[in-house]
Amino acid sequence: MSYLLPNLTKKKQVDSIIRDTIDKVLVLRFGRASDALCLQLDDILSKSAREVSKFATVAVVDIDSEDVQVYVKYFDITLVPSSVFFFNAHHMKMDSGTADHTKWVGAFHTKQDFIDVVEESGWMGTFVGKPGR
């Protein structure tokens, strides 16, 4: 399903999407297309991408790509899939139920769950003005 979303394999692409997504939530999924859980997450992301397109942008990053390894290390991606949220190039933290608030690990059960998380992130970024902790 990742073919429906922008697939980023180079650092430059990731840089540009982070820098060019202005006043919108950016969701970067780090994973690989061969993983089952990634596929499940990609399915939900691709189906929800249009619905959240007014306030969010969704993209997938292939962690097996060499050029992107610096981001894999920087974001400390150890479990796959992991989704990192940004707003105006600022990293948005969130409480996903685990100790790691820096990213969302795993897939979502339903589209609505994902949309709720994105809305929450957008709300925090736009109205509350805090990137979370």
């Binding site: 430059k12 820098r19 202005i22 006043d23």
Partner: protein, 430 residues
């Protein structure tokens, strides 16, 4: 003594027989005494009250019979708590017809008596939960008169299209479909003229009283599809809403509103009229104001754009040149949002890039966004510095793996000290 003991035994045996009370919804072994218990009387009053509210709805239709549309028949059901039976209206032509017949039946009366005997409530109140034969007879009379009225109306309107074939509000009102443009007025005109009364209102105004043929005018009010008299407020009959005759005989006659008519289709030459709709027995009066022909063009059904959209386009024709997002961004977005300063700066850079100007951006090949790490202390900018400081350490580790690693057992400091002292001790012993 023996007799009282026998009586006691009988009572005890009666106590053992459990039965279900549907009023209280519980099983009990109180026997006939149960209906005198205060809890049961309370439950019975609420039970009968609920049943009575349902009966009052049916009683309304008993007094005011209305025709039931076939598509709504399946939705109407009535559960008779006395008979424990469901009464549906499939196949009935009048609202609650089957329910009325059931409540007036002898079988229901018999079961009602048994119910009141078993659960209490008083036989005096039996009439409240059934319909008498006199009521039934009156209702049947009214139904017959309704039927006669509708059949005569349908004869008259045979030559006219009462509504478009897919108009759900008018399905009951017509039996044959004709091409409305032809305006075949023949069947209607002579009979209509015979029943004409002196007009009490202007030619463009009609009073319509509701009968059993509800239909909806273009503005959503209910009008009727059956007509016999003009200007008779309390009539049970209605003006045919496809009365194309009216256009010729009554000047502005006809029950149309604008070009689009829920009744006659858009083929009619729309005549804008004032309509007075009075429902007999109901207090609903709606007056439609006369619309100018220009404004009457286009509505939801014809696919015209809504007026508020047209207004916004008229009011803001100058903003098309300016990108809306930037304007909206400035006015709507919170200035204290996350990364507001960065966003504004970045937008300015993008605009400069669009114009073709060179932008001095700090985005080199080593650029990384601020990232809040898990074990981060301090601001997020420091996480970038930490990462960059960690980076040079990695290549040092990578160079060494080619060297062979020799594994040695762990030797404690004590042992090392002893080993170093051991040769001295050996010498001292000698």
């Amino acid at each position: 003594m023996m007799k009282s003991a026998d009586k006691k035994r009988k009572k005890e045996s009666k106590k053992c027989e459990f039965e279900f009370c549907k009023v209280c919804n519980l099983n009990h072994d109180h026997g006939n005494r149960h209906k005198y218990f205060p809890n049961h009387t309370k439950s019975l009053s609420t039970f009968l009250h609920r049943f009575q509210t349902k009966l009052s709805d049916i009683r309304f239709f008993l007094r005011n019979p209305t025709i039931l549309r076939p598509e709504l028949a399946s939705r109407n059901r009535f559960w008779c708590v006395v008979c424990d039976a469901e009464v549906d209206e499939i196949g009935s032509s009048f609202a609650c017809a089957n329910a009325i017949n059931h409540l007036a039946s002898a079988d229901h009366a018999k079961k009602l008596k048994h119910f009141l005997w078993k659960y209490g409530g008083g036989m005096d109140h039996a009439d409240n939960f059934r319909f008498s034969e006199a009521d039934l007879a009156k209702w049947e009379k009214k139904c017959h008169s309704l039927n006669d009225g509708s059949s005569s109306c349908s004869d008259r309107t045979n030559g006219l299209q009462i509504g478009p074939s897919n108009d759900i509000q008018n399905e009951l009102s017509y039996k044959s479909i004709n091409d409305f443009e032809n305006n075949n007025l023949g069947p209607l005109t002579p009979k209509f003229l015979n029943n004409v009364l002196p007009l009490q209102y202007n030619t463009h105004k009609y009073q319509i009283s509701q009968s059993g043929h509800p239909a909806t005018a273009a503005d959503g009010r209910i009008v009727c599809g059956d007509f016999e008299h003009i200007g008779w407020q309390n009539s049970q009959h209605c003006i045919p809403h496809t009365d194309a005759v009216g256009t010729s005989n009554f000047g502005n006659g006809g029950l149309y509103q604008g070009k689009h008519m829920a009744i006659g289709g858009s083929n009619l030459h729309g005549k804008n009229l004032d309509l007075m709709v009075i429902f007999s027995g109901l207090a609903s009066i709606a007056q439609v104001s006369v619309m100018a022909p220009g404004l009457a063009e286009g509505n939801v059904h014809t696919g015209a754009p809504p007026p508020w959209l047209e207004m916004t386009v008229e009011h803001h024709p100058e903003d098309t040149s300016v990108p809306l997002s930037s304007k909206k961004g400035k006015s709507k977005l919170n200035p204290k949002r996350v990364g507001a300063a960065w966003a504004e700066k970045r937008k300015a850079e993008l605009e400069m890039e669009k114009r073709g100007e060179i932008v001095n951006s700090d985005c080199g090949p080593n650029w990384l966004p601020n990232f809040g790490r898990v074990w981060q202390s301090g601001s997020r900018k420091e996480s970038l510095k930490e990462f960059e400081s960690e980076k040079p350490e990695l290549p040092k580790v990578e160079v060494d793996p080619e060297m062979p690693i020799t594994l040695r057992p762990y030797v404690s400091k004590r042992m090392v000290r002893l080993c170093s002292l051991w040769p001295l001790k050996m010498i001292s012993f000698r």
